[in-house]
């Protein structure tokens, strides 16, 4: 007879997740009533709710009153890493909501359902970053992805948007198939779906269970590689980023990448003992991801596609940080990855926020030619784009520079000098296409068709300013931030 042991439950651990889910549900109720026939109340409520959730996460950083550990039979974990990642997801959702309303109106898709679905998508990411249980990682990933499939196809009258939704859905479901099959074999090799138990069972296992675990790990890495768009599983990324509505792309690039990378970090961290088997493969995947992402971006003509390839390259940089951590788990903590993801979220969301200006009266053009002369129409947005691009390239004094420097240092400390070298070379290659975006924004000869009449709105202005301040702030207050994110 199976007798489960039920321990007391620490509800404060799941409070932020519940809060964001409730915000989504209530926002949907507000949307049904639709006071004053516009979305302002929903936007205001969602922003307030996300801010409260961020505070609920921030108070838990106080380790004296909120202990590190697990609750709900090991389904939910609280440590510095999970808190940081949850905070980053909430920040990404907040910034994406902030500039969405103006863009959705401009694009003639002012659906109030956007806000609740975005909240639930954030819930999925928050669940998957705060657990060591593979079932919860899978569930969080699916909640995150299914919401994003819907959002990507939100612009129903637009062929491109629907096409991107279908591509995302088919490849996403395909990838979850691999992930699940991998989990099945990890379970078969260890008798558990908890990463800690799997880690222990590798140490005591025999050759049969080792084979099951290795096969399972390979499949899990394929699944997570799809989700965090590592080469060679990256093919969907630029297509989906280009076709989805830009505000959705912003959250996709930040929120869903944070979720996938955090899950990858947890899995690789738990499988540190078998790194002699997977480290060579991941080493080459990291090199390929950085290089291929940057090289293909050079030939692109569409701003959103370029940013898609750039997000692939950044996933490669972060992977170097993860590998460095796994090689030297005692010396190198999770703080580098956390810091890089923070600065990555700020700069990508900022860049996509500026790109939303190219939507006008239900149409949108994001080719380089379409955004020419944005400098005249919206100096603040174009000016802040300089900061975002500088940070994406990694020019001091931005947080992007410090993030890359930290990863470089970690890679050197963990004896991964070839990866550090590839990272440095790739940063130089990337200058070309980031400058290409800037050039087209500041070119004066001929204004692009879509930006000619674009208008700033308050939400967009504040999103640009917050991202800009965040990028510089993260660079200036770098050491207190690193202390907050965890110990080395």
């Amino acid at each position: 007879m199976y007798k489960p042991v039920i321990l007391p439950i620490d509800w404060s651990m799941i409070a932020p997740v519940v809060l964001v889910a409730m915000v989504g549900i209530i926002a949907l109720c507000i949307e049904m009533a639709r006071p004053k026939k516009n979305n302002n109340l929903i936007v205001g409520f969602t922003l307030a709710g996300l801010a409260v959730a961020a505070i609920a996460i921030l108070v838990q950083f106080d380790m004296d009153s909120y202990r590190i550990g697990e609750t709900l039979s090991g389904m939910v974990t609280r440590d510095r890493f999970s808190l940081t990642m949850q905070l980053l997801v909430v920040i990404s959702a907040f910034l994406s909501v902030l500039f969405s309303e103006g863009y959705l109106r401009e694009k003639r898709i002012p659906f109030g359902e956007f806000y609740p679905i975005l909240c639930w998508s954030a819930v999925g990411a928050m669940v998957m970053v705060a657990t060591q249980n593979l079932l919860m990682i899978f569930l969080g990933l699916e909640v995150l992805s299914i919401s994003l499939y819907v959002l990507a196809g939100m612009s129903r009258s637009e062929n491109k948007s629907e096409e991107s939704a279908l591509k995302y859905l088919l490849l996403g479901a395909f990838a979850s198939g691999f992930l699940l099959y991998g989990i099945a074999f990890l379970y078969g090799g260890s008798g558990s779906i908890h990463l800690d138990t799997i880690r222990q069972s590798w140490a005591v296992g025999n050759s049969g269970s080792h084979m099951l675990l290795l096969f399972g790990l390979g499949l899990v890495l394929i699944g997570l590689g799809f989700k965090s768009s590592l080469v060679p599983f990256h093919m969907w990324t630029p297509d989906v980023y280009q076709g989805a509505p830009t505000n959705v792309t912003a959250f996709m690039a930040a929120g869903s990448k944070i979720g996938a990378i955090a899950a990858l970090w947890r899995v690789l961290d738990a499988m540190g003992m078998m790194q002699q088997y997977w480290m060579p493969a991941m080493f080459w995947i990291a090199i390929l991801t950085m290089t291929v992402g940057n090289l293909i971006a050079l030939g692109q003509k569409d701003v959103k596609r370029v940013l898609g390839y750039s997000s692939i390259a950044h996933a490669g940089y972060i992977l170097v940080g993860i590998l460095a951590h796994v090689r030297e788990p005692m010396k190198i903590g999770s703080d580098t990855v956390s810091y890089y993801l923070l600065s990555y979220a700020l700069m990508t969301i900022g860049a996509f926020a500026v790109i939303t200006l190219s939507a006008r009266a239900g149409k949108e053009g994001t080719k380089f030619g379409d955004v020419q002369g944005l400098w005249h129409r919206a100096p603040l947005a174009a000016g802040s784009l300089i900061v975002f691009m500088a940070s994406l390239i990694g020019i001091p004094p931005t947080s992007g520079f410090i993030g890359k420097l930290l990863i470089f240092k970690d890679a050197m400390a963990a004896d991964l000098a070839p990866l550090a070298f590839v990272l440095a070379v790739n940063s130089i290659i990337s200058v070309y296409y980031y400058l290409g975006i800037l050039r087209s924004m500041f070119v004066v000869d001929e204004e692009g068709e879509y930006v000619r009449n674009s208008a700033m709105n308050n939400g967009l202005k504040s999103a640009c300013v917050i991202c800009m301040v965040g990028i510089f702030g993260a660079a200036i207050f770098f050491s207190p931030l690193m202390q907050l994110f965890g110990t080395r």
Binding site: G191, Q200, G299
Partner: protein, 115 residues
């Protein structure tokens, strides 16, 4: 234990999974691709259930017998089925939206997004 051995279940699972993967790669109709993905997920369910049936009879050296192991595998299957249903609901919705837009759902015709 009498009856069908574990390896038979695993082989059938692997076969079903491979059929699903090949189908996703070569078929051009999104609905058929969906069915192939369902096939992959069912292969996963079969694998989980096979392990859940056999793990409690095994021991991993140095640890207590895996008496409790069956539970997580069986729960996993319930969740996989629920998630697959949700995925199909959204997927068919998207396919409907595409069909209304272009009266055609062939994957090869979807080539608007390229570099």
């Amino acid at each position: 234990m009498q009856g069908v051995p574990l390896i038979a279940y695993l082989t059938l699972g692997l076969f079903l999974f491979s059929v699903g993967v090949v189908g996703v790669v070569i078929r051009r109709n999104p609905i058929v691709i969906f069915m192939c993905i369902e096939l992959m997920l069912n292969a996963v369910n079969l694998t989980f259930l096979a392990f859940a049936k056999f793990l409690p009879t095994m021991t991993i050296p140095g640890k207590a017998p895996l008496a409790d192991a069956a539970m997580s595998g069986q729960m996993m299957v319930i969740f996989v089925m629920a998630v697959a249903a949700a995925e199909v609901a959204v997927g068919l919705g998207i396919i409907m939206a595409i069909f209304r837009l272009r009266q055609d759902i062939d994957i090869d015709e979807m080539n608007l997004l390229r570099g």
